[in-house]
Amino acid sequence: MTDRILEGPAADGTAAGRVASDVAGSDRGEGDHGGAAVEARGLTKTYGDLTVLSDFSLELRAGEFSAVVGRSGCGKTTLLRHLACLESPGSGEVLVDGVVRTRLVGDTRIMFQEDRLLPWKTVLENVGLGLKGDWRRTALGALDDVGLGARGGDWPKVLSGGQRQRVALARALAHAPKFLLLDEPMGALDALTRIEMQALVERVWRDHGFTALLVTHDVAEAITLADRVILLEKGRIMRELVVDLPRPRRRGEKFAKMEGEVIEWIMSLYAGFI
């Protein structure tokens, strides 16, 4: 165990390491600013008889933060997998910065509901996963960004759930994504940790300027974070709400009104059943 720790941040300060990292760092610089414009055109996906996405179109402006809300089974996660190009649609296409994409590329990253850290790698190694060149320095920078710079040598197992999710966020940030998809990453956290995590996500989004798409079933969370809330039902957009509250957002009258409105929409979907 001790030698694992020695391999950690402490071993990073070698001269050779720094030279290499400067090169990698300048590479990363441009990607670190701004987001990608993402467009879905007529996405359709069926599994057997089940239509999960039907003629779905959406435009995400560069650097915009959007949230998709909807009942479970409304196609949220499928939509996310398609936008990330993890899955290919039956018909339709995904364009990133105007170019058609058919497979997942390095500027797109996903944060999952579970942390999905590799338990056999240290925190720092997890953050450095898939990085090229001097990954230690990049990973350490990303860890610092989420306030866990001192925990690089620890095993994921010793961290709390909230800290692990922060490491997962650092892992996404280390790749300097232009498009970050968040698949209910705060769903499993307790209420207080969730608020902390929301603030962190908002801060890194403002710092790095990537395009963000959050999938959630927490309406308040969507309104706290997103410029635009999209209600998804049966694989298509039912409603859209532009959230023009100043950031960081506090719960107030206008916030409550918007939240009420979205919940009203969702309830109206149930109207037929209740």
Binding site: M1, I5, R116, L118, W120, D154
Partner: protein
């Protein structure tokens, strides 16, 4: 940091570690002392069970005339060769069948059938095929060692969390890195269980094979001693087996400590 302080606690903890380390050896020592007393008082017929001192004398005699080391070397070489061949075979088969469905379909039923045959049941056949030479022993060990490692490798790889594999794809890991960083470490706990089990099978097979069909090795030494009623040598070989078995276990544990330290945290 937390991990490091955990390590120092262990050495400075109540009772101290030397006591903890020595305690497991207390019972074997007491047993040997009681045995020596019984032998000295004449409660045990030395032809049935020699005293520990006599066993040690036999040990010294065989050590100084070189017989012991020569036989030990032969036995360890057989065990090691058989384990390496069988272990590699099991590992490759496990990796293959866990990766390619087709290979699994073709091989698994057959392997599962062969697996249920006790490898020692092959002994008469093996003697006819290979005589009592090296090949016979190594073949039997290979047969015994392959399957535990095969089964555990297969199971280990199949039980790697598919979510982690998706994550690795999203984070741009290529095929090689996916194997090295995700699949193999994920399967390793299970593979090491197979290794430990195989080490046990390895010794057992070797002992039986050497006792029945050999002209050298520890088992042969014991069989030979039986013909001359040298109970001290027989007891010595049994004790050596116990030590070697323990040694194999220590090696397996060390491997687990080295490669699975992330689980202990």
């Amino acid at each position: 940091m937390a991990a490091r302080s955990g390590g120092t606690n262990k050495t400075g903890g109540a009772g101290g570690w030397p006591a903890r380390r020595l305690l497991p050896w207390a019972l074997p020592c007491v047993l040997i002392i009681v045995w020596q007393i019984c032998a000295q008082r004449g409660w045990i017929n030395p032809r049935i069970l020699p005293s520990p001192v006599n066993v040690f004398k036999a040990f010294w005699r065989l050590l100084t005339n070189g017989e012991l080391l020569a036989n030990l070397k032969v036995s360890c070489a057989r065990a090691g060769t058989g384990f390496l061949i069988g272990g590699s075979l099991g590992l490759v088969l496990g990796l293959g069948t866990a990766t390619w469905r087709l290979l699994e379909t073709v091989l698994d039923t057959t392997l599962q059938m062969i697996r249920t045959i006790p490898n020692l049941a092959l002994l008469p056949l093996v003697i006819i095929w290979f005589g009592i030479g090296e090949k016979a022993k190594i073949f039997l060990i290979v047969c015994g060692v392959t399957f535990p490692i095969y089964l555990n490798t297969f199971h280990g790889i199949r039980s790697v969390d598919p979510n982690l594999i998706t994550m690795a794809r999203v984070y741009g890991l290529g095929r090689l890195r996916l194997w090295l960083d995700v699949i193999l470490p994920g399967a390793l706990p299970s593979i090491l269980v197979g290794v430990r089990f195989s080490l046990g099978v390895m010794w057992m097979t070797l002992i039986v094979a050497e006792t029945i069909a050999a002209s050298s090795g520890l088992g042969y030494m014991a069989t030979n001693a039986r013909e001359m009623m040298q109970t001290d040598v027989i007891v010595l070989t049994i004790l050596l087996y116990a030590l070697l078995g323990k040694l194999a276990d220590v090696v397996a544990r060390a491997l687990e400590r080295r490669f699975l330290s992330w689980r202990a945290a």
